[in-house]
Amino acid sequence: MHELHHFPPPAVLNMTAQEVTQDRLENQPAGDRFKRAGLLLAVIFAVGFVTVVMKIAGGFGSRSEWGYHAAAFAYLLLTAQSAVLVSVALRMVKAHWRRSLARVSEMFAMVGLFNFLVFIPLLWVLPSTENRLSLWFDLPGNSPHIWDTLTMAILVLCGLGLLYFASIPDLATIRDHSEGKKMIRYRRLAMGWEGTPKQWKSLHAGLGVLGGFYFMMLIYAHAMISVDFSMSLVPGWKDAIFPTYHALSGLQAGLATLIVTLFILRRFGGLNTYIEVDQFWALSKILLATCLLWFYFWWAGFFTYWYGRTPAEQGVLQYIMFETYRIPFFSAFVLCFPMPFLILMWNIMRKTDWGPTLAASFVLLGAMFNVVRMYVPAFAIEDPTSHALKVMPVANWPSISDILGFAGVIAGAILVYMLSSRVFPLISLWEVKEGMLLQRIRTFLKTEIRVMGKPE
C-alpha cells in the first residue's frame, strides 16, 4: 500500500443531497456566453446546411463531391456517437468516478439523432453491390442501403432510450421542484417516477440491457459503415481488421470528445464541484490505453499488407497512406498516436485537467484527418468494380463548400448538444447522490482515505 491518498476528497462529499439538487437546478446552463456561442454555431450550421442543400440540388451524379460529407458523418459517428459508450462501459464495471460524467456522456445520444440526418443523403451516392466486392455477397444490390439505415436508426433509438431512461429520476426531481408549464412538461417526461424499490430495480435492469445493446450496436454500426461506405468502394482493399480499427478509433475519439467536453464544462460551465481532476486522471489512463491500441490495430493491418506486397495491397497502401492521401494520413497518425502518447505517458500530466484535454484535442484533430483519408478516397473512385487499383486516382482536396459543409455538420452537432443541456441536467443527480451514499472518508493510520462501498 502506498500513498493512499493522492487527491483531496471529492468536494461533493461535503454537500448534502439536498444541496446538490438545489445547486444543479438553480444553475442550469444559460447566460450571455451560452447564447453567444449558440448563435455563432447556429450561423455556421446554417451556412453548412445551405451548402448541403446546394449539393443535393446539384444531384447525386458525382460520388466524389460527397466525400467530405461522408467524412463529416463518419467523424460524428467516431466522436459523438462513440462518446455515449464511455458512460455505458463505466457503468458496467461499476466505476464510482463515472457518476458525475455519466450524463455528459449519454447526452451525446442527441447528436446521434442529428447525425442520422447527415447520413441520409449518402444513401443516394452509395452504389449498389452489383459486380463489386461487398459484405452482402449475393443478397440484393441495395442491401447496404437497407441494413445500414436500419443499423443507424436502431443505434440512434437505443442511444436516445438510454439517455431518457437514465434521466427519469432527475426529470422527476425537476418536476418536484418546478411549477406551472415546466412542471407539467416534466411530469409527462418523468412518467410517474416515485422512486419505489420496484422502479429503481427496473431502472438498473433497463440501463444494463440498453447499455449492453448500445455497446453491440455501436460496434456493429462501425463495422457496417466502415466496410460499406469506405473499404468496399476501393478496389483491392480486403482488410479484415479494418472494421475493428474503425470501432477502436471510435472508442479513442469518443473518449477524447468526452474529455474535451468535461474540460469546457469544468472551466466555463460552473461544474468544477462535480467534475474534478480525479475524473480526468482516470479517463486519461483509458485514453492512453486506447492510443496504444489504436497504434497496435493500425500496425497489425499495415504490417500484413506491407509484408504481403501483393499488387492489390501495394495499390491500397499507396492510395490511402503513402502517396495520394499521405498528408491526411501522416497528420492522423502523428495526432492519434505519438502526440497524445507523449503527453499521457507522464503521470504528472495525467493528473491535471489540461494535460488530458490537450492530448484529447490532438486525438480529435487526428480523428478528423483519419476520416478524411478513409472516406474521401473511397468516394473519389467512380468505378469500384475492378479487383485492384489499376490507375491511381488523383487526390480530392476540399473545396470551400466542402469545408463549409464539414464545419456546418460539426457546428450543428455542438448546437444540438447545447440545446439538449437545457432539457436534461448535465450532472446525473441520482448517480452522484448514490455515490455520496457509498463513499466515506476515514482516518487510516496518519492519513485520510476514501472508503468505497461495494454493494453489488
Binding site: H5, A223, K238, A240, A300, L438, R450, P455
Partner: protein, 458 residues
Amino acid sequence: MQERVKLTDAEINRDLLRSTVESPRGYWIIIGALAFVVLCGVVSAGFMFNRGLGLTGLNRPVMWGFFITNFVFWIGISHAGVMLSAILRLTQAEWRRPATRAAEILTLFSLMTAMLMPLIHAGRPWRVFYWVFPYDWARGIFPNIRTPLVWDPAAVFTYLTSTILFVYIALIPDIAVLRDRTTGVRHAIYSVLSLGWRGTSRQWRLQLIAGILLSAIILPIFVSVHSIVSWDFGMAIAVEAWHSTIFAPYFVIGAVHSGVSGVVTVMILLRYMFRWENYIRLEHLDALAKLLIVVATTWLFFFMLEFVFGLYAREAPELALRELQTSQMPWAGLAITFLITAYLFPVPMWMFRNVRRSVKWMLITTISVNIGMWLERFLIIVPSLARKQGFTFTWGTYAPSPIEIIIVTASFCMVLMLVLLFAKAFPLIPIADAKEAMILADHIQIGKKKVPAVMREE
C-alpha cells in the same frame, strides 16, 4: 457483493503455506501418474528423433500438424497469466488477489512447454541452431531475419525472461515468510532466494514499484509475442486463409480467452486440493466468468470478421478451404465442436449467476473452452495447408500418429505436474496480497444495512 471472511495473519500463513508443508491425500499418486505420462512423452519424442518425422502424420502439403497446434495453444495459455495478473494489478481490481500467482505460474510453465514444441517438431532439435543462430561466421551465413520464424524465438525468450522476473519479484515477500519457517537445506535455499527481505518500508515500496513497472513493461511484450506467433501464419501469402490483417489481434484475444479459462481451471483445482475456499471464493469465479463473457464475445467478433473477410474477395482457393472446413468430415465436425465448446456452450451458461458461482460448472465450462480453443488452432493450421496448392491433385490431408498424440497429451500432464510441484515449494496464493486485502477490507453503514467496502488504493 464481497463475501470475504475475516482472517488473522496467523490463519493466512497457516492456510496458504499448507501446500508447502502438507501433501493432500492422493497428491503423490497424481504426481506419479502425471510423471508417467510425461515419461511416455519423453520416450516417444526420443524414439521419433531416432527414427525420424516419418513416424508422425505430417506429409506434403501438411507439414505443420499437432506439434505446431500445440505450440500455439500453449503460447495462448501463457498469455492469460501475465495479462490477467498485470492488468488486474494496474487496474487494482480487488478480486485479483487469489488469481495472480496461479496465473503467473501457469504462464511460466505453459511457455516452457510451448517452447519444446517447435524443437520436437523440428525432428532434429539441434537443427534449431541453424534456424536461430548464425552458424557459419566464416562464410557469412546468417538466418533470415526477415522471417517471422526467427522473430518467434526472440519474442518468446523475451517473454519468458520477463515472466520469470515478474513471478520472482512478486514471490520475494512470500519466500521470506517460508525462510522464517523452515530449517536446514530449505531454509538455506529460501534465504538465498529471499534476497535479504525484512519487510521494511523501503523494501515494500521498491517491491511495489517493481511490480507496477514490470506489469507495464510485460503487457506490450505479451501482445507482441502472440502477434508474432500469428504472423508465422499471417505473413504467408501462399496460404490464402492465413494472410489476414486481423490475425494478430485475433490470436491475442483468443489467447486471452483460452488462458483466462485455463487460470480458472487451475484455481478450481487448487481450491479443491488445498482447501482454499476462504481465498478462492465464489465471487472470484463470478468476476472471472464476467470477464470471460466479454473476452469470449470479442473473440467471436474477431473470428466472424476473419471468416467473413475470407469469403469477401470470393477467391477460389479461399472458397475451397472454407468449403472443406464447413462441409467435409472430419473438419466440419471438428468446426462445429470447436464453436460449441469455445463459445456456444460456455458463454450462454455464464450468463446465469448460478453457473458463475458453481465450482463444478465453472470447471466444466472452462475446460470446454480450452478444448474448443485447441481445435481452433488445429482448424486454422491443418485445413489451410491441406488446400494450400492451386492444383487439386496436390491437395492433401492429415491425421495425427499415436506418437504425436502421446507427446501432446504429455505436454498437458507436464504443465499440471509442474504447477503442482511448484505448490510444494511456494504458496500459490500471494500471502502478502491476502493480508493486504484484510487490511483494506472495511464496511459502511447505509441505513440499517452494513455494506462491504474497500479502502481505495491509488
